[in-house]
């Protein structure tokens, strides 16, 4: 396993700047999740590390060694794509054995069988090992392609939305599994996702990307509780953080333009009158859509609340975030 270092990496595709002077250190054994909307540069960064793309400027090091000029094969990285690509004429077992059968590795047969069996078990595809890859459902094919990466022992695993095509139940199972595989192996993972639940539950570190720039790097708890900007604050949290004019509930710090309120920043039962516009019972909690002054906000309350639309409740900000005109956090 290895540390991965990017130093001043830039990459443009024609007029589009995909990465701008990106520097990041992925510690050995870290599970780094890259978050950001489409076009933020997440996938481009993965492709730089894997060697599928070359940076215009800057340097990439894996385990201290410069990757300049090395092919993907020479870098010893394992990559899982959002779109699985399996060998259609091979069985599941043969697909998973494939990376181990490389003449470079000389893995003994018994070791290959053991490794494939173990990974298949984890991914819940043991019963499909002798099926042709083409006889599988989409979710099963994706698990095989994850399996093909996991049987290897690369210096870093690179995963690009590997769970997004799976159903909710399986996604939840594999979240826990991938995380424990990573922790047990002490492996370095760089993982791209749109799904904030994956980011919060699996990451040791989250990198927030915005238009090719790294805007915050820290634990999920850091990003959630101490975001540096409106943008970073908006990456995590459901319902989405409420961003309102700074002085809407009274005095705000100088220079503050917006106030940011997560549900836990909103005390109920005291303070300002708000109209309940809609009540959504989600089972474990209830979402309240509120209207105050000329703004709308969303908070959560008890699952069995008797509140209904048209009621008036009191709310009070409690240790909220404040942001300046550029969206940077000032308090």
């Amino acid at each position: 396993m290895a540390e991965v270092l990017l130093q001043g990496v830039s990459k443009s595709f024609g007029p589009t700047k995909a990465l701008v002077d990106l520097s990041i250190t992925v510690p050995d054994g870290a599970f780094v999740v890259l978050l950001g909307p489409t076009g933020a540069g997440k996938t481009t960064m993965l492709r730089m590390v894997s060697g599928l793309d070359k940076p215009d400027r800057g340097e990439i090091r894996i385990a201290g060694q410069s990757m300049a000029g090395l092919t993907p094969a020479q870098r010893n990285v394992a990559m899982v794509f959002q779109q699985y690509s399996l060998y259609p004429h091979l069985t599941v077992r043969e697909n998973m054995e494939f990376p181990l059968k490389s003449p470079l590795l000389k893995t003994p047969k018994a070791e290959i069988a053991r490794k494939v069996g173990e990974v298949a078990e984890i991914l819940q595809i043991s019963h499909k090992l002798d099926n042709k890859a083409t006889q599988l459902s989409g979710g099963e094919m994706q698990r095989v392609s994850i399996g093909r990466a996991l049987v290897r022992n690369p210096s870093v695993y690179l995963m690009d939305e590997p769970l997004s095509s799976l159903d909710a139940k399986l996604r939840a199972d594999l979240r826990v599994e991938l995380k424990s595989i990573q922790a047990n192996l002490g492996a370095t993972f760089i993982y791209v996702t749109h799904d904030q639940i994956e980011a919060m539950t699996m990451a040791t570190h989250v990198g927030v990307l915005d238009q090719g720039r790294l805007v915050q790097f820290g634990t999920p708890r850091d990003i959630y509780e101490q975001p540096v900007s409106i943008y970073a604050a908006g990456r995590l949290g459901q319902p989405h953080i409420n961003i309102l004019p700074a002085n809407i509930f009274g005095a705000a710090p100088a220079n503050a333009v917006s106030i940011g309120l997560r549900p836990e920043h909103i005390l109920q039962g005291q303070g300002h009158d708000c109209l309940v516009k809609r009540v959504e019972h989600l089972g474990d909690q209830t979402r309240l859509h509120l209207s105050y002054s000329n703004a709308d906000l969303i908070t959560v309350t008890d699952a069995h609340t008797s509140l209904k639309s048209g009621d008036i409740i009191k709310i009070q900000p409690h240790r909220p975030f404040y942001f300046d005109g550029a969206g940077n956090r000032i308090a």
Partner: protein, 365 residues
Amino acid sequence: MAQIVIKNVRKEFGAFTAVQSSTFTIEDGEFFMLLGPSGCGKTTTLRMIAGLELPTAGEIYIDGEEVSQKPASQRDIAFVFQMFALYPHLNVRKNISYPLVSQGMPRDKVRAKVNEVAEILGITGILESPVGGLSGGDRQRVALGRAIVRDPACFLMDEPLGALDAEFREHMALELRALHDRMGATTVYVTHDQLEAMQMGDKIVVMNHGVVEQFGKPQDIYDWPATTFVAKFIGSPAMNLLDFDGMVGNGSTSVNLSETKVDIPQMISGANGTLTLGVRPEHVRLDDAAGFRGRIVASEYLGTTQIVTLDTNHGPVKARIGSEVVVKIGETTGMHFDPRSVTLFDRANGKALISKANHEVLSHG
């Protein structure tokens, strides 16, 4: 607008039975969700309401009129598909006008109607644009516009948000629901996403293998599942289900799990053999003094809360607790289940046993 009654409806495709025998009522003006995994028969049910499939047996009433064997064109409905098919060579206005023009409506009336619908959907600014360059959301709005413009008695929607990405889906879900609240038209909506169903629906039908598992209000279904399938399908993480051997009868208020007494709501039915105790993660509290014990194997941080997974003699248990609580992986601790929220199931058929807590919800369905 319309009430829709589904009565003993069955659909077979050759030897395969897609829908066994469905019975439920969609009230006038409701936002009604058909929820279930792929292959459960929800889309087939919707297509039978639409008239795109004819049932093998049973009756379908729209506003009191039996329509089960009538073609789609004779039912006053509008269908919105997951893959919104727009006419690529026409602009937005012409796409929305199409159903009215083909009905032979006079041109100035069409114009007025389309303007009104565009206003509702917030797409007045793009009416003259070609549909080619539109974003996914705008394309979906245009598809909705084409359905709304006809003023049908009801809307049938088959995973209309399925193709959108997560962030945008949330936004469109709110928009759709607000639109429904303004127009009040009966809407039947198919989804496999339980959160979407909980969030948007007035009522939910949960289907599995062609069978209606439960029918009712979202919170009722969440709190008091009729079957273990519903318990597992609704909620994220799902309800904890712990198998144990035991007996309960009228008046029982506790069961024994691994020789530990666990309180339950007072039973008004009985069962003996392998039973399943169901408890939602937010009703599990870590309490070192509690007798039922497990080893902490994982903690997943979720911002306000965390999900703690424990291994017990009866399988894994997930607890949703505040993220400020510090838990140590590997440690053994006790668990307290909120007795008011527990459901017992008969393991043999997966059906909930009736207690004083759930009998009101389960007696009507």
